[in-house]
């Protein structure tokens, strides 16, 4: 009789343990959006820390490789559309295409050099939310001085692939920043002036 109880007790314990494991495992499960962001980040980190690609003489090649990796994850059209906001619909298809290329170049110029100064900072994926076709991935970047920088990626699922359309660093959104700047330039002068300004900025020191 006692033996029977003991078996039952053991069974219950193991079942409880299993349930606990499942419950603990669920929050650690990384979904498709995090997977996508992680894959791209790892790829870029591999390029940046590759000794064969270091040095100023390899800068062009390195930049090209990074751009390729970023292109796969970033939805430039969605990003540009969101940044131009109300002014997007007034543009012709050719203008849209030109602006997407210019905007991509601008971001590349602004941030590529910063990626080059990478020196082993850690990236930790903290949180992920999925709401239908939209998702967010929150990551923390740990610097050497133990400062945390919170980065939030906003993604949209396009054909089974999660693509980034906005990045917030410490709660400040990239798209919102450019949206305000573009809007104020267009309202102050014109769309053509904005394109010219972007062209000048992209051509700087090139």
């Amino acid at each position: 009789m006692i033996e029977k109880y003991r078996i039952r007790y053991c069974l219950r314990l193991s079942l409880g343990g299993f349930l606990l494991m499942v419950m603990l495992a669920v929050p650690c499960f990384a979904g498709a959006p995090t997977d996508g962001v992680k894959k791209t980040t790892d790829r870029i980190l591999a390029i940046v820390s590759d000794p064969a690609l270091k040095g100023p003489e390899n800068k062009g090649k390195r930049g090209q490789l990074i751009r390729q990796a970023v292109d796969e994850r970033f939805n430039w059209e969605a990003m540009t559309k969101r940044s131009l906001a109300r002014h997007w619909q007034k543009r012709t298809d050719a203008e849209k295409k030109e602006f997407i290329a210019l905007f991509g170049k601008l971001l590349e110029r602004t941030y590529l050099d910063k990626v080059g100064s990478y020196s082993g900072e850690k990236v930790i994926y903290v949180d992920e939310t999925i709401d239908g076709k939209y998702g967010t991935v929150t990551a923390k970047i740990l610097t050497h001085s133990q400062t945390e920088v919170l980065v939030c990626y906003r993604l949209k699922e396009v054909g089974g692939d999660w693509q980034v359309y906005d990045i917030s660093v410490e709660g400040v959104s990239l798209v919102n920043n450019y949206r305000k700047q573009f809007n104020s330039i267009i309202l102050r002068s014109s769309y053509d002036d904005l394109v010219q300004k972007l062209r000048a900025k992209v051509a700087e020191k090139d």
Partner: protein, 172 residues
């Protein structure tokens, strides 16, 4: 002339008796009370109107639609805080609540202000330490947010103290 009139009145059955005079007085008194009463009601109505107008209360329900937004940090936004587009107040915060340890803000917007699906809502501070308000930067999507919908892209209140502490401790 007067006598003639009086005779005429008497002929028509009118009598100058004390009872009638008293009754007239009573009528006058009643008129006065009515006046005071009406005046009081008018006063109360004015007071009600003023308190609704100044307190910005809604009596006849709202003439708009609701849109919600989730912020990771509400920064002390309250119901009644203004919702602004391009610096123009277009609506107010109706309700602030907690949803999965995040701030869920319900806004009341007028029907003639359409919000695009990719609009961004951010919590801002008036001045350096002033009131909090919500700023919506309109997007470019053809899709509009339906009543009861949600602004997906939000930007929480920037915590100045945290930024300073990050800066200070980052220097260690």
């Amino acid at each position: 002339m007067v006598r003639f009139r009086l005779n005429e009145l008497k002929a028509s059955g009118w009598e100058l008796n004390p009872m009638a005079i008293k009754q007239g007085e009573r009528m006058k008194k009643f008129d006065l009370e009515l006046c005071v009463g009406l005046f009081m009601i008018l006063g109360i109505l004015c007071l009600g109107y003023l308190s609704i107008k100044l307190g910005k209360l809604e009596v006849l329900g709202s003439q708009g639609y609701e849109v919600e937004a989730i912020f990771s940090n509400g920064g002390g936004i309250k119901s009644g805080s203004s919702v602004v587009i391009a610096g123009v107040e277009i609506g107010r915060v109706k309700q602030v609540g907690l949803d999965d340890y995040q701030a869920r803000v319900l806004m009341d917007l007028p029907f003639d202000v359409k919000i695009q699906e990719d609009a961004i809502a951010s919590i801002k501070t008036r001045g350096l330490i002033g009131d909090k308000f919500i700023e919506i930067t309109p997007g470019g999507s053809e899709e509009l947010i339906r009543p009861g919908g949600r602004i997906r892209d939000t930007q929480s209140a920037v915590d100045l103290e945290e930024l300073i502490s990050n800066y200070v401790f980052g220097k260690l």
